[in-house]
C-alpha cells in the first residue's frame, strides 16, 4: 500500500529582497497510513514550510508530493490542518466554527448541528457551543480547532505546533486527548513540534530536521514505547529517557547551529 503522504525530493525556494532563500532542500520522507510521525527541528528551520506543502497551500519549487500514491494538485482534500496560531473565525461561535466544514460541503443544517454538538462534547466543550472564540480560553480554542478539523474525518492530520501556546498542564491534557481520539480511529499524522519530549511521547516515529536554511531530515527514530500511553507518565519510563538521550545527541549540534544563526541574524 502506498504511503499516506510522500515527500519526494521536495525543495522550496523563496524569492526575497536579499536574494533567494532555500527553506527546505531535497526532502524525501514517507508517512504511512495510520502512522503518527513527529517532525522536530530547531526554530526557524522550515518545518511549517513542509506542512504547507503537504497541505497543498504551498507549491514546492521542485519535487513531487504524493498523497496515497497520487501526485497532489491544488489543496489536499484528504488532509485536516491544525494551525499554530489562532485560526477560528472570530465572528462564528464555537459550534458554528466546528460545523463550518460541513456547511461548505452542504450537509443538512440540522444534521451538521447534531454532529457539531457531538464533537464539542467529545473534546470536552459540551454547553460552550454558543461562545465566541474571544470568550473561550486558549485551551478551549485549541479544542474547538481540533473538533473543527476532526468533524470532517480527514485521513491525514497535519498539526503545526498546535499546543505550543498552551501552559504545560493544559498541554499534557490535550496531548492525551489527541492520542485517545487518534487511537480510536487511526489516521496518518504529521505533527510538527520543537519540543522533543512531546514528539517522543506522542509518536510512532520521530524525524529530526537539520537547522535552516536548506533544511533536510538528518535522522529518523522509531519510537517503540507501548501504547496506549499517558504522556505525563511515559516521560518517566527508562526507555523514554534512553530514546530522548539518543535523539537529543543527534539534534544538539543542529540546535546550536540554528541558535547561532538566529543570533547572527539579530546581530546583523
Amino acid at each position: 500500500m502506498s504511503p499516506a503522504v510522500e515527500f519526494d525530493q521536495i525543495t522550496c525556494t523563496f524569492a526575497g529582497t536579499r536574494g533567494s532563500y532555500t527553506a527546505v532542500q531535497d526532502v524525501t520522507l514517507a508517512i504511512g497510513a495510520g502512522e503518527f510521525v513527529s517532525v522536530v527541528g530547531p526554530t526557524g528551520c522550515g518545518k511549517s514550510t513542509l506542512l504547507n506543502v503537504a497541505a497543498g497551500l504551498l507549491k514546492p519549487s521542485s519535487g513531487t508530493l504524493r498523497v496515497f500514491g497520487e501526485p497532489l494538485a491544488g489543496v489536499n482534500r484528504k488532509a485536516g490542518y491544525m494551525f499554530q496560531s489562532e485560526a477560528l473565525m472570530p465572528w462564528r461561535n464555537a459550534l458554528a466554527n466546528v460545523t463550518a466544514g460541513l456547511e461548505f460541503r452542504h450537509v443538512d443544517a440540522r444534521e451538521a448541528k447534531r454532529r457539531g454538538e457531538e464533537w464539542l462534547e467529545r473534546v470536552g466543550l459540551a454547553g460552550f457551543g454558543d461562545r465566541y472564540p474571544h470568550q473561550l480560553s486558549g485551551g478551549m480554542r485549541k479544542r474547538t480547532a481540533l473538533a473543527q478539523m476532526l468533524i470532517l474525518d480527514p485521513q491525514i492530520l497535519l498539526m503545526d505546533e498546535p499546543f505550543s501556546a498552551l501552559d504545560i498542564q493544559t498541554r499534557q491534557l490535550m496531548e492525551n486527548e489527541l492520542l485517545e481520539l487518534w487511537s480510536a480511529n487511526r489516521k496518518s499524522v504529521i505533527f510538527i513540534t520543537h519540543d522533543l519530549e512531546e514528539a517522543i511521547a506522542l509518536s510512532d516515529r520521530v524525524v529530526v530536521l537539520s537547522a535552516g536554511p536548506a533544511t533536510r531530515p538528518i535522522g529518523e527514530f522509531p519510537i517503540d514505547l507501548p501504547r496506549p500511553r499517558d504522556v505525563s507518565e511515559i516521560r518517566l519510563s527508562p526507555r523514554f529517557v534512553e530514546l530522548h538521550d539518543r535523539i537529543w545527541h543527534s539534534m544538539k549540534e543542529e540546535v546550536l547551529k540554528g541558535y547561532a544563526q538566529t543570533k547572527n541574524r539579530v546581530a546583523a
Binding site: 488532509a79 472570530p90 474571544h134 478551549m140
Partner: protein
C-alpha cells in the same frame, strides 16, 4: 461618578441660564453695542428658543420635517454603505482593479463633495433624492476605505484554515471576507451615520421645501435667530438619538468582538 446624569443636566442648565442672563438688554455695556437689544438679536434667548421648540412639537409641525430628514439620512446611509461595501470588496480582492482605480478613488475622496450639492439638485430635483445623493458621496468613502482595509487585513491563517476546511472561492467570499468586511463597516458606523446626517441637512439647507435644514434656512432668511437656534438644538438632539440607536445596533451585531472591559473568560 454618582448622579452623573444629574451633573450633566446641571451643566446644560447652567449654560442656558448664563446665556439667558447675558442676552438681557442693557447688560452688555453700551460701548460695545449702542442698541441694548443687540445681544438678544445676535445670540437669541434660550427661553424663546425653548418656546419655539415647544410650539413645533405641541403643534406637530416639526414631525414632517424630522421625518424627511430621517428618511434622507437612512437612505444615504444604506445606499452609501452597500456601495462602499461592494466596491471595497471588489477592489480589495482584485489587485489589478485596485491599482487601476487608485488615483481616481484618492482624487474623488480629496474633492470637497459639498460643492456637488447644487449639481445634485439639477440632476435629482429639490426632493429628497438630491440630499440622499450628497449623503451617499460622504458615506461611501468612509465605508469604502474601511472595507478595503478590512479585506486586506483578513488574517491569512483564518483564510488558510477555511480553505483547508473545504471552502471554495465563493464560500471564502461569503464566509470570511464578507463577515470580516462587515465588521469594519460597523466599526465606522458612527462616522458613517453622522456623515449621512450632515449630507441630509446640508442638502436641505442649500435648497429644499422640507426638512429641518430647510426650517433653519427659512429662519435665517427672516433674521429669526431664536428659530435658527431651535432648529440647531432639535438637530443636535436628533443626532444624539441616532448615535444612541447606532450604539445599540452595534452591541447587538458585534457580539463576537472582544471588548476591553470584557473579562468573561474561562
Amino acid at each position: 461618578m454618582r448622579y452623573l446624569r444629574l451633573w450633566q443636566a446641571l451643566i446644560l442648565f447652567f449654560i442656558f441660564a448664563l446665556w439667558q442672563v447675558l442676552a438681557q438688554p442693557g447688560l452688555i455695556p453700551p460701548f460695545v453695542w449702542e442698541n441694548p437689544d443687540r445681544a438678544a438679536f445676535f445670540f437669541g434667548e434660550p427661553v424663546k428658543i425653548l418656546r419655539a421648540i415647544w410650539v413645533w412639537f405641541s403643534e406637530g409641525t416639526i414631525y414632517q420635517h424630522l421625518w424627511v430628514t430621517l428618511q434622507e439620512t437612512a437612505l444615504a446611509f444604506v445606499i452609501g454603505s452597500v456601495l462602499g461595501l461592494a466596491v471595497g470588496l471588489w477592489l480589495g480582492l482584485s489587485p489589478t482593479a485596485s491599482a487601476l482605480f487608485d488615483p481616481y478613488i484618492t482624487a474623488m475622496n480629496a474633492m470637497p463633495r459639498v460643492v456637488l450639492a447644487p449639481i445634485f439638485m439639477v440632476w435629482f430635483g429639490l426632493g429628497i433624492w438630491s440630499k440622499v445623493a450628497l449623503g451617499v458621496t460622504l458615506v461611501f468613502f468612509i465605508v469604502f476605505f474601511n472595507v478595503y482595509q478590512g479585506v486586506k487585513e483578513v488574517s491569512p491563517v483564518v483564510l488558510n484554515n477555511t480553505v483547508m476546511l473545504g471552502a471554495n472561492r465563493k464560500q471564502l467570499l461569503r464566509y470570511v471576507y464578507l463577515p470580516s468586511a462587515t465588521s469594519w463597516v460597523f466599526s465606522s458606523l458612527h462616522t458613517a451615520v453622522g456623515m449621512a446626517f450632515v449630507g441630509a441637512v446640508v442638502g436641505e439647507y442649500l435648497g429644499s421645501a422640507r426638512g429641518v435644514g430647510y426650517l433653519i434656512q427659512q429662519a435665517e432668511g427672516a433674521f429669526d435667530i431664536n428659530t435658527v437656534f431651535a432648529g440647531i438644538l432639535v438637530l443636535t438632539a436628533f443626532a444624539l438619538v441616532l448615535d444612541f440607536a447606532v450604539t445599540r445596533a452595534e452591541r447587538r451585531l458585534l457580539v463576537w468582538r472582544p471588548t476591553q472591559s470584557e473579562t468573561e473568560q474561562l
